[in-house]
């Protein structure tokens, strides 16, 4: 199997395996059956069945080099050649996923204010922007604005952080004029 065909088939194989696993899992949903009524697994199993059928269809179509795929009306009516290939930087993507994951991990520890400030600055550097003054200034301004709007005005319950970082949140909330 050539490399491009393998790459094209992989998402559908993953989808098919996932559908099989979920179908079995759905069959194990615990409930007390009622006579004449459909169980709680019927609807999800219908969705899984549709997903498996579509995946299987695409795998067979791609492996047999069958007919061209059927596309949605908006796609048929649009003109080709609009999509332009852009260079890709997988490391930036990995960095982005790591950064949002670290944000979620640190949020409960450092609190919203500190984590947001650090995240904003880090993400701008990751996005290859290099004006240091703008990065730190806008990160601080946006963090303060978000803090005012969501912690003080909208009263959204955002994490305060654990000791000693919660003191930063407390200090922010006690700032005069806010």
């Amino acid at each position: 199997m050539d490399h491009s065909l393998f790459r094209a088939v992989v998402p559908y194989v993953v989808g098919l395996v996932l559908a099989a696993v979920l179908y079995v899992y759905a069959g194990q949903i615990e409930y007390t059956p009622r006579p004449g009524q459909l169980g709680p697994a019927v609807w999800p199993q219908m969705a899984i069945g549709l997903m498996a059928a579509a995946c299987l269809f695409e795998i067979v179509r791609k492996l047999t080099g069958g007919r061209a795929e059927t596309r949605g009306i908006a796609e048929i009516l649009s003109r080709e050649g609009e999509a332009e290939d852009e260079p890709r930087f997988p490391l930036l993507l990995v960095g982005g996923i790591v950064l949002v994951t670290v944000y979620a991990i640190l949020l409960l520890v450092l609190g919203f204010i500190v984590t947001t400030f650090v995240f904003l600055a880090s993400f701008m550097y990751l996005g290859r922007y290099r004006n240091h003054g703008v990065i730190w200034a806008t990160s601080a301004i946006v963090t303060i604005l978000c803090g005012i709007v969501f912690l003080r005005v909208a009263y959204v319950s955002l994490p305060r952080g654990t000791t000693p970082f919660d003191r930063v949140t407390d200090a922010f909330l006690m700032l005069p004029g806010l």
Partner: protein
Amino acid sequence: MLDLITQLGIGFVNCATPINLAMLVIGIVIGLLIGVLPGLTLVMGVALALPFTYRMDVTASIVLLTAMYVSGTYGGAFTAILFRIPGEPIDVPMLWDGYTMGRRGQAAKALGWTLVAAFGGGIISAIIMVLLTQPLAKFALRFSSPEYFTMLLFGLSSVVALGRGALADALISLSVGVLIGTVGTDPIYGAYRFTFGSPLLADGIEFLVVMVGAYGVGEVLSRLETGFASKPIEKIEHARTELPSFREMSAVKVPFLRSSLLGIVIGIIPGAGATIASFVSYGVESQFGRRKEQMGTGIAEGIVAPQAAATASVGGALVPLLALGIPGSGATAIILGAFMLHGVQPGPQVLVTSAAMVYTIFASLFLGLGLMCLIGYFAIRPLVKILDFPEAIVSAYVLILCFIGALSIRNSVTDLWLMIGFGVLGYLFERWKFPVAPLVLGVILGPLAEESFKNSMISFSNDWTVFFTRPIAGTMATLTILVLLLPLVRKWRG
């Protein structure tokens, strides 16, 4: 009719309160900016604004979100025409004639055509929205679960068949969305489905978490992978709008009316939104228009058709939302979320229980369209200046708003984790060219469809023929089959 006009008049008065007017202006400006910024889609923008509305009055919240929605269908045309950068997927057809007209030195005229089309299409759809909502709501009182189910099925099928991407991929995307919608406690048996022992998952997955993740985080990750590489922007010294003459407008009245009506119909179909309206309308004009051979060469019809349809779809999409409680598009799904956050359930009863609010929203759409055109006409230069803003900074802000949005839904970090997960899923969908819209609409409409399906089965002793034997349900079921066959027929006919 007199009662309707009186109610609308009261709506205009209510809309003129300082808070509602302020929300209207803010919504229009932010919507235009969202339209202009290529990395920020209309649905994402409306979703990100949702946390700001938590402490607001329900009417002001909906006025804000609706204003963003309507002006977001217009703002992207500026950059598509001037710089060949479609701010929204809606604006891709604008590249074919709008940008071409601009390259001929008639950018101001092209912008004038978009303004006229957006205003005209929007006004027609607003009028039809006002006229249609109440009768549809009354008619919907006769609906039983089979009618609701077939209507939702029609909506889900339309997103697959009319949208972009391969049909099989759209079906997979839809199935995944419907499956995500089943996570939680089964409403009839109280059984846990796909909760994996998590108490938070027992309450289900909020569709807003999926929307913000797939549209917001997913899009930012996709853009980050390209290094936020954007096309160099040409210097536009004299960005201005030149309105077409009455004679010129008269020459395109047929395409304009056809596109506006098409936009309204597509907007009314549950699930299909402005993007589908824009593409389908351009396609119809290319195939049936008087100057079909010249489409793509920079003619007015190529600008009017997608723009009028896109803006007209807004009023159309609000009809099923208000009359039936079924969102007509991704953006109206968020507006539905805003209603529910404030304890208001849109549907056939809303015109009885909250008529003043509904008519204020109607009035805000009329006022919003006027304001949108005024701001678009006079402030085009400062609006397009936002493109000078580095994308890395804008994307960082977008991510923070996504995080806050997820955290504020149930005050839980688990929602943040789920949103990040759906963000990665959204990225993978984008990477492998799976359409995201069916996924999101599957999450939103899936639970509604399941409920009406199960109620139908309980009420009619598991007799599935009920979906074909009742007149309204049968009509909707037939339309569902036809709409699914449409791409296949198109393919066979070459």
